[in-house]
């Protein structure tokens, strides 16, 4: 019993019970992108004030939980990353953003040097808006460029064109943003290697410190699912898997050649510009998630272990829930029930996405005991089939492992 307690006391979530990251979901768009399956709404502008109010209430609920636990977390100085995701958070007024940040600062705390990111669509980023956002406290932008060819952008139903993306990037730099990331997509209908090469050449010309690059995935129940599933009318336009991989290798090698570090399966950053917020997810750290449909991972006063929860993904239902909730854990529904062993496995499932790999010494530091034999066996097996590389106490994905990551991750389910 004694030993167990000691071991438990050594786990990270008891030593530092408070999350250091906070996510706010702003599920509003001018128009849905036809491939997107994130929770978002269209034409709900009238709901903005009510939603803002609900978010402010939810910040207070987080604040109560923070106050409840603060005494057990002497190092706590407020959250270290804040992320406004969506939806299209750039639709939110800078006044609203400022009000939210103020409230977070008051009730939850914002640590010095906090990374505060806002996801943005190039078409809703006037210079004026950018300056106001910067002034409101946003210090990192993640801009949904996706592609640099206007035909491609139209094909995937984006509202912006290349010129608007260029204007947004220049405007952002002028407005004082020094940490700008963009999203790029590959495997788009009729996309070619030449497109990828021209995007690479293009992005050198702009102040970009971070690139999230990912394949188009045809998600069920999206407009694209009908068109681009096998048998769909446009299915043949999708590059075949071989070409899609070639596009990926072209993009990856191009970015590396420009000095970007490929630091996570689908993320690249100039040295010092990794996304700290997303890194928290991959490291198995805890985070608050506010807003309709937002996901969170924290240990409430009633939990033994940290748990994953999701807020209701319906605007009115969410707002109603906030009004009635007496503590933050009454907001979200558990999406799964995790025990200590699940958390340990997740450490690898998520951690191996980071290409630096997982250092077993970090595991011990985090959980207060050695890596269990069962996990070691899995790691060795994956090294055996050349999906992982082992270097002293660090296990990381091989180049082959990057292509077959699911084979690796699913071992830790």
């Amino acid at each position: 019993m004694e030993a167990d307690n000691n071991s438990a006391e050594r786990t990270f979530y008891l030593r530092r019970p408070l999350p250091r990251s906070l996510y706010i979901h702003l599920p509003f768009c001018i128009r849905r992108c036809p491939y997107c399956d994130f929770f978002s709404t269209v034409g709900q502008e009238n709901f903005f004030p009510q939603y803002q109010k609900a978010l402010l209430s939810e910040v207070r609920l987080v604040g109560c939980e923070v106050d409840f636990l603060r005494g057990r977390d002497p190092e706590y100085n407020g959250v270290e990353t804040v992320y406004f995701g969506g939806g299209t958070p750039s639709l939110w007024s800078s006044e609203h953003i400022e009000q939210l940040l103020e409230s977070i600062g008051t009730f939850v705390g914002i640590a010095d040097g906090c990374e505060i990111t806002l996801e943005a669509n190039p078409s809703s980023l006037s210079f004026r808006h950018l300056s106001d956002l910067r002034a409101a406290g946003i210090n990192r932008l993640s801009i949904g460029v996706q592609a640099t060819d206007d035909n491609l952008l139209r094909k995937i139903g984006r509202l912006h064109n290349r010129a608007e993306a260029e204007a947004a990037l220049k405007g952002a730099e002028k407005a004082g943003f020094a940490n700008i990331g963009i999203d790029l997509m590959i495997g788009l209908p009729a996309q070619t290697i030449a497109d990828i090469k021209s995007s690479l050449a293009w992005l050198r010309e702009y102040p970009i410190q971070h690139v999230s690059a990912y394949s188009l995935i045809i998600e069920p129940d999206t407009p694209f699912a009908d068109l681009y599933s096998p048998g769909g009318s446009l299915y043949r336009e999708l590059p075949d898997p071989e070409d899609e991989r070639k596009q990926w290798y072209t993009l990856r090698e191009g970015l590396k050649a420009f000095g970007f570090e490929h630091y996570e399966i689908s993320n690249f950053a100039c040295p010092g510009y990794r996304s700290r917020h997303n890194s928290a997810y991959w490291s198995g750290d805890m985070y608050w998630g506010l807003g309709a449909g937002a996901h969170s991972y924290y240990r409430s006063r009633n939990d033994i272990c940290p748990q994953r929860r999701a807020n209701l993904n319906d605007l009115s239902a969410y707002a109603e829930r906030v009004e009635r909730a007496d503590q933050i854990s009454a907001m979200g529904e558990l999406t799964e029930v995790m025990d200590a062993a699940d958390i340990e496995k997740e450490f690898f499932l998520l951690g191996l996405r980071i290409l630096d790999g997982v250092d077993l010494r970090n595991f011990t530091e985090r959980f207060g005991h050695e890596v269990p034999a069962s996990i070691r066996l899995i790691l060795e097996k994956l090294v055996g089939i050349q999906l992982l590389i082992e270097e002293s106490s660090v296990y990381r994905l091989s180049l082959k492992g990057e292509d077959y990551g699911n084979r690796v991750f699913s071992e830790f389910i």
């Binding site: 995701g85 998630g289 999701a310 997740e346 292509d403 990551g405 699911n406 699913s410």
Partner: protein, 618 residues
Amino acid sequence: MQDKSINKKQSSTDAADADRLALIRNFSIIAHIDHGKSTLADRIIEHTGAITKREMQAQILDSMDLERERGITIKATAVRMNYRAKDGRVYTFNLIDTPGHVDFNYEVSRSLAACDGAVLVVDAAQGIEAQTLANVYLALEADLEILPVINKIDLPAAQPDVVAKEIEDVIGLDASDVPLISARNDINIVEVLEQIVTKLPPPVGNTTGRLRALIFDSQYDTYRGVIVHVRLRDGVLKLGDEILLMHSGETYTVSELGYFTPGALLPAEELRAGDVGYVVAAIKDVRDVEIGDTLTTAEDPATEPLPGYRPVQQMVFCGLYPSDNADYIELRDSLEKLQLNDAALSFEPENSAALGFGFRCGFLGLLHYEIVIERLEREFDLTLVATAPSVVYRVTGTDGNVIMVDNPTNLPPPTLIQYMEEPIVRANVMTPREFTGNVMELCQSRRGTYINMDYIDANRVNMHYEMPLNEIISDFFDTLKSRTRGYASLDYEFLRYERADLVKLDILLNGEIVDALSFIVHRDKAYQRGRRIAEKLKDVIPRQMFEIPIQASIGGKVIARETVRAFRKDVLAKCYGGDITRKKKLLEKQREGKRRMRQVGSVELPADAFMSVLRLDE
């Protein structure tokens, strides 16, 4: 002098016994699947008050979940009831349930042999079907009086007159006062009970003779051991008697005997000729008690056993492997548990290069095979890989030695085989007339030999074929159903072994023979089957990290070739937004799929790859 007094005593007993016997009716209900056998049994039990309505769980006799779901009886059961008839006398009914499928023909015949009469249920809408006839023939063979009833008369499509005429024309039974009933809605059940009394004969029993009891079923009970179900033909069986099983030659001491009531056993002091009841005698294994064996007293045994005994004969074999090798012990324990109540199931350890450790299992037929696999997966929560079922081939070697081969892997090389023989069955297909062309085409394509065809009525025919059993176990029934829009019914029985030009077809993945995918096929069909299987495997084998050649070969000669291309990636890009649970669920789904895969050499094979050699859409 002494003899005389005994005789005198016995004759008075005989008189009392005749009265006793006159009040007993031992009968079965026979029917085609879904014609309402179990429902009628339920109503009879209800009406005799053997069980109250509230205790009544629908279909008492079919107590296994699977039986209820499939609407078929796998294990026979017996129930004893009392019925006060309109003549004012109280009759004892022993209702002996019979398994309802062609695979269990022998078991059916033994259950029927324990009866004196049978109630024949015919669906008022569907009329006589293949199994109706097959069961009628079995009942006639057992010399049973048959009482027809027409069920489901309240269905809109019911045609009781047409069906009554069918019963007269096809079976030759008098259907002038056939009870028109609805078992489901409890219509006219009393009429059935009355006719059981008036039309079915009482047992003929000879209490004075040496004991002869027919064993028609057995079941395993954790506390009592094997409970033997018997019908006494001659003599009296008493508690404490030393008994002998005439075919097995084993002796036991009776520790308990009695009668069946629904849901319980009712102990008694003795069982007498004509009675149906149970015997407990510290028997540990159901396989020690063979269905059809004769039970007699060890001290003064009968000279002749009752006729009709046949040892259990498995006709279909397959390899069963745990999907996860770690479950081997669990699979063995589960098979053992199943076998406690299913003496017809056989299994022995088998080792496959592709599938690891598993069991070669023998079944009475294809349905038995499917039922066992389903029960293992459902009741014992096992995930299994089953190889394609095989029949038993008789192989004569060049040295003149004959071996029986139930596993293609054990087939000697062609150079050592003089000739091979395969089991031929007589198959009866009953179908609406419009489909005769389709059925003929199908049977011919399955190497069937047409024998003849009877007209049941203006619309339906009964077609008789002789056909290799190995054609029937490879998806014949499903194909038959689809070619007759579900109308045809099938039954078959073993006829003989016959020489055939058979070859072993091997499947190679990545250049290696996958032993569990090999099967034996007629030479004329080998090319076509080989090609189809290669194509099918190409569809069911998921793309892997490398290219996989698929080949079908006979004796080293490749006859078909396909390739599964490598997939290029398997990775969830974009993992943010914090919804880790969803990513995990996707991975979990993928992993679940992978868990059902078997590692064969370097290739991962989904479990259904092994079934795909069986199920080929034609």
